[in-house]
Each structure stands twice: as structure tokens, then as C-alpha cells.
């Protein structure tokens, strides 16, 4: 898994590439926590290059979502593949996150 953070005016855009599973979730945890610790409260996670997501990855997203909502911000998702969308829905988390097909729309939503 690789991550890349792009700082935009109103939000941080986090691009993730590869597998988000129990082997890589701790790295995702670190990058999310680092941004939030630095005062970011709006995060958009671009999932378009995520090939695989297990509950270990979802858990990090939920944990980060809880933190930013507490600070009055939000964590939103964009462009998940069909497989990743299925996993989010099966986990019952699709109503928890705001999920956008399109990254530009997602950026504009903040």
C-alpha cells in the first residue's frame, strides 16, 4: 500500500494505492492520525487505486471519521471500485460515510 497526501485549501486529499488489509492498516492509521494531529479536520480519501480492502482498513477509516467529526469536520470517500464498494456495503458502513463516484465532486462537497 502507498499513500500520498495533497493539501488543498479546505481539506487534505489522501490518495491510497494497493491493498488495505491487516498488513498495511497500521500505515494507514499513522498517516490519518498524523494529519488529524496537525489540525486537519476535513479529509477526502481517494480509493480509486485501492485493489483490496478488508475490515482492518475499514476500521482505520471509521476511527479517523470519529476523530474528525468530533472536531467538526468530516472524512469522505471517493471512487471506490465495485469490489471495495461491496465490502463497505456488506460491512453496513455505506450510510456512515459520504461516498462520491467522482473526485472533483467530492472535493467540491467540502
Amino acid at each position: 500500500m502507498e499513500t500520498n497526501v495533497i493539501e488543498l485549501k479546505r481539506l487534505d486529499l489522501l490518495e491510497i494505492e494497493g491493498r488495505v488489509d491487516s498488513n498495511t492498516a497500521s500505515a494507514l492509521h499513522e498517516v490519518l492520525n498524523e494529519r488529524i494531529d496537525q489540525g486537519t479536520s476535513n479529509i477526502l480519501v481517494d480509493l480509486s487505486n485501492v485493489s483490496y480492502m478488508s475490515s482492518a482498513g475499514l476500521r482505520e477509516l471509521v476511527t479517523a471519521l470519529k476523530r474528525v467529526r468530533k472536531n467538526g469536520g468530516d472524512l469522505r470517500l471517493c471512487a471506490p471500485s465495485e469490489r471495495v464498494t461491496d465490502v463497505i456495503e456488506l460491512a453496513g458502513l455505506n450510510s456512515l460515510f459520504e461516498i462520491f463516484d467522482d473526485r472533483t465532486m467530492a472535493v467540491g462537497s467540502f
Partner: protein
């Protein structure tokens, strides 16, 4: 990592043993994926098996062992036509699945406890999930069956498709010439791609075959073999059999009398594989 062995005549069992480390999980789920496809499950069903096994192994490392490198994980996949049974054994602490609350479908963030998501996914994705706790080890058994629909690829009207005992019986009902051969080839390759690697082409309604038809059969036969299966021919008409003998195809293909013979030959092969 160790290789597999056979349990009984109808089922094949493949085994894998790894140290309980997160980085070993992708290897386990590749192994399970291959076994699921070998059982004739669809790609989505095989993916469901992968994700469930990932969640199970993650739980073992996290909860049963409490850390990485604290014990081994043994995985056995029993493959039967249309069914995979995955058994996962660990030697850690027993874990009470009843103690894990079902996650609720809610947008009330405070109610979400992310811990139970893995178990919830396993129960949703697999047909059966059963935990057993012994004195020395814990066993998780999960079963996934192929969905009832026998039609796993779109077939044109001139090709009949039937699934019997994990074998795909393909019955073309047309002259196997340059016009029809690519259609048949596409159907056969799509079946193999979908994990249906044991095939019979029943030739009883093929009155004529020319070289594109022969090429389609050879291409599909080669692909089936590359995927660990086989393609047999049965019920050849006199004329088609004559063509086969002239060009030496009877030495490449296994040709049997009828469908039932072909299915039992392929099933025997699946069991020995």
C-alpha cells in the same frame, strides 16, 4: 508451506501452513482463491472466500494469539464440485464469537464498534461459519457453495450448456465452420476463465467440422489443461470421427462414447488431481 493430499475419492484437500504474521495473509488468500476456482465457484464467490479467510486469519493473529509470530495457522481447503470447505486451525486462546456484537447498520457513529466487522463479513459472505474450541486448538470451518444458476456464461442458442457434478457439458448444435467456430471458442474459454475447467464437448449434433472448428477445440483443450482441468469429446458422428482420425486428433483428444462416460472420467480426474 506444504502441499496437499487427498482425503476421499470425491474430494480433494489442499493444505497450507504458515506462521501467524499479517504479511502471510495475502499468500493464504491466494491459495484459497485458487481452491475456490478449482471447486468451480465464480470469481465473486472466490473473492468472498478470500475476504472471509483474511478476516478469520486477522482475528487469529489479533485475538487468539494476541500478536504476530505467536503461533501457526493451518488452512485446509476441501474441494468438491461447486463447494469449498475451508478449515482454519490455530493454537491460541479460544474466542467466543457470541461475545462479538453484530454491527448495526446505522449512521449514528457512536453506535459503531469497528471490532466486529470482520466476523460480520464472514457470516454474510459464507454459507456456513462454525467455530469449535478444543483443549489444544481452535477450528473455524467455513463453507461456500456455488450459486444455483448453472449458466455461468452467456451462450448463444446454438450452444446448449449444462452443469453436471462439477463438469460443464457443452453441446454445439451447428456446423463447426469458420462462422460458428469463434462463437464456440469464446464460450469454452469463458467457461474455463470462470473456473469451470472440466469440460465435455458433446458432438452429437455437429454434422460437419472444418479447420477453424478443430482449432477452437484445440485452443479450449489447451486452456483447460493449463488451468488444471481437461476437455473431453463425446458422441461423435461417423463423419466427424472420420475427420478426426485422418488428421490424428484421436491421439490428442480423449474421445469417449457418451456424456455419462465423459463426466465420470472427468470426475475421477478431479478426485485424483
Amino acid at each position: 508451506m506444504s502441499s496437499g493430499s487427498r482425503r476421499e475419492s470425491m474430494a480433494e484437500t489442499r493444505r497450507l501452513q504458515v506462521r501467524g504474521r499479517y504479511q502471510n495473509i495475502p499468500g493464504i488468500i491466494d491459495f484459497v482463491n485458487e481452491a475456490a476456482l478449482a471447486a468451480g465457484l465464480g470469481e465473486d464467490e472466490a473473492f468472498h472466500c478470500q475476504l472471509s479467510v483474511d478476516e478469520a486469519c486477522t482475528n487469529i493473529i489479533e485475538h487468539a494469539y494476541g500478536a504476530e509470530d505467536a503461533g501457526r495457522i493451518e488452512v485446509a481447503c476441501e474441494i468438491e464440485p461447486g463447494i469449498i470447505t475451508v478449515r482454519i486451525v490455530d493454537y491460541g486462546q479460544p474466542f467466543d464469537p457470541g461475545a462479538v456484537p453484530e454491527p448495526v447498520d446505522t449512521n449514528e457513529l457512536d453506535q459503531i464498534e469497528p471490532g466486529g466487522i470482520g466476523l460480520h463479513l464472514m457470516r454474510k459472505l459464507m454459507d456456513e461459519v462454525n467455530f469449535e474450541f478444543g483443549d489444544a486448538h481452535n477450528t473455524l470451518t467455513m463453507i461456500k457453495r456455488r450459486a444455483g444458476a448453472p449458466q455461468i456464461v452467456d451462450t448463444p442458442e446454438a450452444i446448449q450448456l449444462e452443469q453436471r457434478d462439477g463438469v460443464s457439458i457443452v453441446t454445439p448444435q451447428a456446423r463447426m465452420d469458420a462462422a460458428f467456430a469463434p462463437v464456440l471458442e469464446r464460450v469454452l474459454l469463458a467457461l474455463i476463465e470462470a473456473g469451470s475447467v472440466s469440460l465435455v464437448v458433446e458432438m452429437k449434433e455437429v454434422p460437419y467440422i472444418s479447420s477453424p472448428g478443430l482449432k477452437a477445440l484445440v485452443t479450449a483443450w489447451r486452456s483447460a489443461r493449463e488451468h488444471g482441468g481437461d476437455l473431453l469429446l463425446c458422441s461423435l458422428s461417423e463423419r466427424v470421427r472420420g475427420v478426426f482420425e485422418v488428421i490424428g486428433f484421436t491421439r490428442i483428444f480423449e474421445i469417449v462414447e457418451d456424456c455419462a462416460d465423459a463426466v465420470s472420467a472427468l470426475r475421477g480426474r478431479q478426485a485424483r488431481a
